[in-house]
Amino acid sequence: MPAIVRKLLLCSALFLTLPLFSQDIASLEKRIQVRKLNNGLTVILMERKEAPVFSFYTFVDAGSAQDPKGKTGLAHMFEHMAFKGTDTIGTTNYEEEKVVLAEIEKAYAAYIAERDKRVGQDKQKLAELEKQWKDLIEKADKYVIRNQFGQFVEENGAVGMNASTSEDETTYYYSMPANRLELWAYLESERFLEPVMREFYKERDVVFEERRMRVDSNPIGRLIEQFESAAFMAHPYGIAGIGWPFDLHTFSATDARAFFDKYYVPSNMTVAVVGDLEFDKTWPIIEKYFGRLPNRPKPDEALTTEPPQNSEREVVLKETAQPVYIEGYHRPDYLSEDDLVYDAISDVVSNGRTSRLYRSLVRDKRIALQAGGFSGMPGSKYPHLFAFYAIPTPGHTPDEMKTALRAEIERLKNEDVTDDELQMVKTRAKASLIRSLGNNPGLAAQLATFQARFGDWRELFHQVEKIEKVTKADIRRVANQTFTDTNRTVGVIESTRMAGARPPQGAPAAQPQQPQQ
């Protein structure tokens, strides 16, 4: 690129920085209010009157990393249960239903005790206990108004109703017409006031089907589960959030309710609402409904810290599927001073057609369909992995991916990134923030997440200012610190039926061509 063009670019980028951001925070300040209710719940409201609708995002600061030992998958299981109703929603007679649900738990505990006897298990007794448990499930079924919670939400015009459980957090969200704000406040607070674990064991089957879909019947799912297990020996990040099969066949409704009681505490939750609302009218509604949630002690979140890795680890899956290569390096959590340096590295190696891995592995060497590098595997709240991956084109092997990725990693360690590359990172960070401000669901998610993660939604903007300060030396320093042999875990799918021993005609492989001018 001619120097003059580069100079102009730099100017325009600088011009972009100053006015846009200070102005934007200032104008947003007027449209955003944050309050902590008496019970400890944090609520953020943002006025955005583009259309008579609003979106919300409930952020619970507990995820699969909080799953108890032997009960993996429980955080996600509770997320499913949060759609099953309460003592007032989803039941024809809660007083009677409650009694049967308690009987189910007793029967289930008896069944599990017999099932898991190491010595002296009585097969006939086991069958009887299983029948008693299942008969009670059928008995409870007659009190169920199936999916009434979802029905209330959907018939009132909600769209995008869903929830998600990650290693770090559990989130709930949908959008509604603006005239349903009070109804929403009732439903969303009611949901976490007295959730009832009805239809628990059938929903557990549903979750098991989800595991089959995402992990057991998916080659990449199988790889990731093994890869993460290899990378983390001590921290729960080594256990996939969906849960181990045995645990999914073992934990109880009692366990799920205990998880709720411990972690779904107002002081551990943040709710953001964005859309066509007015502060004066909305705060009393929020106080009235969400104020009902009882204040309980904030859970202890201390988890063990993964010890330093002192040897390279590798998992190799032999599959009939086509090959895949991934390698991960331990890095500190999102509060690290270097967090944005990692973001910059990720951007330089994998964002768009100018990125290093695209240009090297995909465009020039033609050995990969796709390649990238990213943080946040499998979460970011605790120390986690920065991972590089590449998907080979026909005829190319995981080993070739490894060699090509390592060459790019060595470049990061031994040479500075260019001025243009670093400037692109900064320009893109600003532009993508601007683009993200134009829709309610996205804003609600970002405000709730940054408020919960940093204690201040403004950090969303400060991050762009911080990335502005990242230097070439930072990138080299962090790359050298992180991308070392003993800090690495490798995951490979080797294909027992490699496609294309030779590439198809008209598609020559691995022969870089000179771009035509």
């Binding site: 259309a51 079924d141 959907e154 979750v207 019947s217 599927a321 964002n351 057609r353 995909v362 600003k430």
Partner: protein
């Protein structure tokens, strides 16, 4: 193809993000804007707290319609100003997509849609264009679907002049350089080599072939040979034939003054010589016999079940009753399929389906679920029962209310952003639908009765006429399928590249 792999790969990573809700397959009713309700509404429910909450009328809201202009060469332009963010963007859509590809060159528009952008312009290579755009965090992208191709941009307002210049260069002087033709062909071949790795990809693709016939323009697939046959000249010819103003619709949105933008657009496109509209696709549709089809995949423990037939066209007057029927059957948590097969029986995480519709051709009727190998037959029997019930047990008043309320109360989300309104208007223009289609949809939905739903269920849903496709583990499934009728095994072996007799995974074992 590459995109598909990206999706797959990311989906696997987000095995950490575990959604509670199932996805229902492509039968989502198309929604619709809103005449503001004036009377206060009450939810009807036995929950006393809810019934105490009054729902005020939705505030008066008239979505801002884009300005429509027709240039002298026939090009239709929509301008949608929006000053919320300092961003400007546009999409130009041309009629004609993959359904017009010659049979020997399936995949031509995939190559075209990629190389149009990556191949650069007469003045700059695609790589130079990449550098230019990324330095501005701007995008210009091209692409192709079954019925159209498109070129779009999005940039910060301050970069509009530069980016719009590059956009015009790419539109008027694309170069389709050979190195990028070879690159994308190599990439697409990579996608072909991986197309049997994922159950859902297999199932979706093969189900469409059963519904439409394997050679129909709506189901046929690229092979190594058809991709290898595509040349740079094909791309140049395609562009010359279809990228003309008579065949185009342009939508511009963002932070601009309309009068000034209109002048910019006229200056750029008014002198573009007229061309011809793309023809209608002329493919034959030949659905498979309603039998049981099986594809063995031994590395899974869950069967994918899809039951398919033809659906309807969007302009069918029954579309509105069908939309309500689909909502009753699989729209949301309280629908029949989710309540009965997922929540009550615990048979599936993912279940859904309905009578699908497309704007310009008959859609697909598709009922799908994934279940553990051992309950494969239960799933099929369960789906069939629900379809029979749909015919014999028309929706109750409660079901009708739930279904219609869901559609009508969420109506405002059809036009809750200016860009959505623009995209809807471009879509109606493209398919020749009236610009007030959403209004018509809304009032038609309001009129649908339970009898209407019963009538369309009888007319379109024939549980015994569906082709049943199962992809799963033959050892684990055992003989469950034989009791359902004659089972035909589909061979999905990937035909080897031309000139190769077959090695590796492409060989028949």
């Amino acid at each position: 193809m590459t995109k598909r792999i990206l999706t797959l790969f990311l989906a696997a990573f987000s095995a950490i993000a575990l959604n509670a809700q199932t996805s229902t397959s492509g039968t989502k009713p198309v929604p619709v804007p809103d005449k503001t309700k004036q009377a206060p509404e009450q939810t009807q429910t036995q929950n006393s707290e809810i019934s105490r909450i009054t729902i005020p009328p939705l505030p008066e809201f008239r979505p801002q319609m884009p300005k429509r202009i027709v240039l002298s060469n026939g090009m239709v332009v929509f301008l949608q100003e929006n000053h919320e963010l300092p961003v400007i963007g546009a999409t130009m859509r041309f009629r004609g997509g993959s359904t017009l590809e010659p049979a020997a060159k399936i995949g031509l528009t995939d190559v075209y849609g990629a190389v149009w952008r990556t191949g650069g312009t007469k003045k700059r290579t695609g790589d130079q264009l990449d550098d230019f755009l990324e330095a501005r965090a701007a995008k210009i992208e091209t692409g192709a679907t079954d019925d159209s191709t498109s070129i779009a941009f999005n940039c910060l307002k301050q970069d509009f002049n530069d980016v719009f210049t590059a956009y015009q260069e790419l539109l008027f002087q694309p170069e389709f350089r050979e190195d990028k033709v070879a690159l994308i062909k190599h990439q697409i071949a990579g996608g072909i080599s991986r197309r049997n790795d994922d159950v859902d990809e297999i199932s979706g693709r093969e189900a469409a072939k059963l519904a439409y016939g394997p050679n129909s323009p709506y189901a046929r697939q690229a092979e190594y040979a058809t991709i290898a046959a595509v040349t740079r000249q094909d791309l140049i010819d395609w562009h010359a034939k279809y990228a003309n103003p008579t065949n185009a619709i342009l939508g511009v949105y963002g932070d601009f003054e309309p009068a000034q933008m209109e002048k910019t657009i006229r200056d750029a496109f008014e002198k573009w010589p007229k061309g011809r509209k793309a023809p209608e696709p002329a493919g034959q549709i030949s659905p498979a016999k309603p039998e049981v089809y099986f594809i063995p995949k031994e590395d899974v423990d869950q069967s994918s079940v899809q039951m398919v037939a033809l659906g309807i066209k969007r302009d069918n007057p029954d579309y509105f009753a069908v939309s309500v029927m689909n909502e009753v059957l699989s729209g949301g948590f309280a629908s029949r399929l989710i309540s009965n097969l997922r929540s009550k029986l615990g048979l599936a995480y993912s279940v859904g389906g309905g009578v699908g519709s497309d704007f310009d051709h008959v859609g697909m009727q598709d009922y799908a679920m994934s279940t553990k190998s051992a309950s494969t037959k239960d799933a099929i029997v369960g789906l069939k029962k629900e379809l029979n019930d749909l015919i014999t047990q028309p929706p109750t008043p409660e079901e009708m209310k739930r279904a219609k309320d869901s559609i009508l109360n969420s109506f405002v989300f059809n036009f809750d952003s200016k860009q959505k309104v623009l995209m809807e208007q471009m879509r109606y223009e493209f398919y020749g639908f009236p610009s007030d289609y959403l209004e018509r949809y809304r009032s038609a939905i309001e009129k649908v009765t339970s009898d209407d739903v019963a009538r369309v269920a009888k007319k379109y849903v024939h549980p015994d006429q569906l082709a049943i496709l199962v992809v799963g583990n033959s050892g684990e499934i055992g003989d469950q399928l034989t009791s359902l009728g004659q089972v035909k095994t589909i061979d999905i072996t990937i035909p080897p590249p031309p000139g190769e007799s077959g090695t590796g995974s492409t060989a028949k074992k």
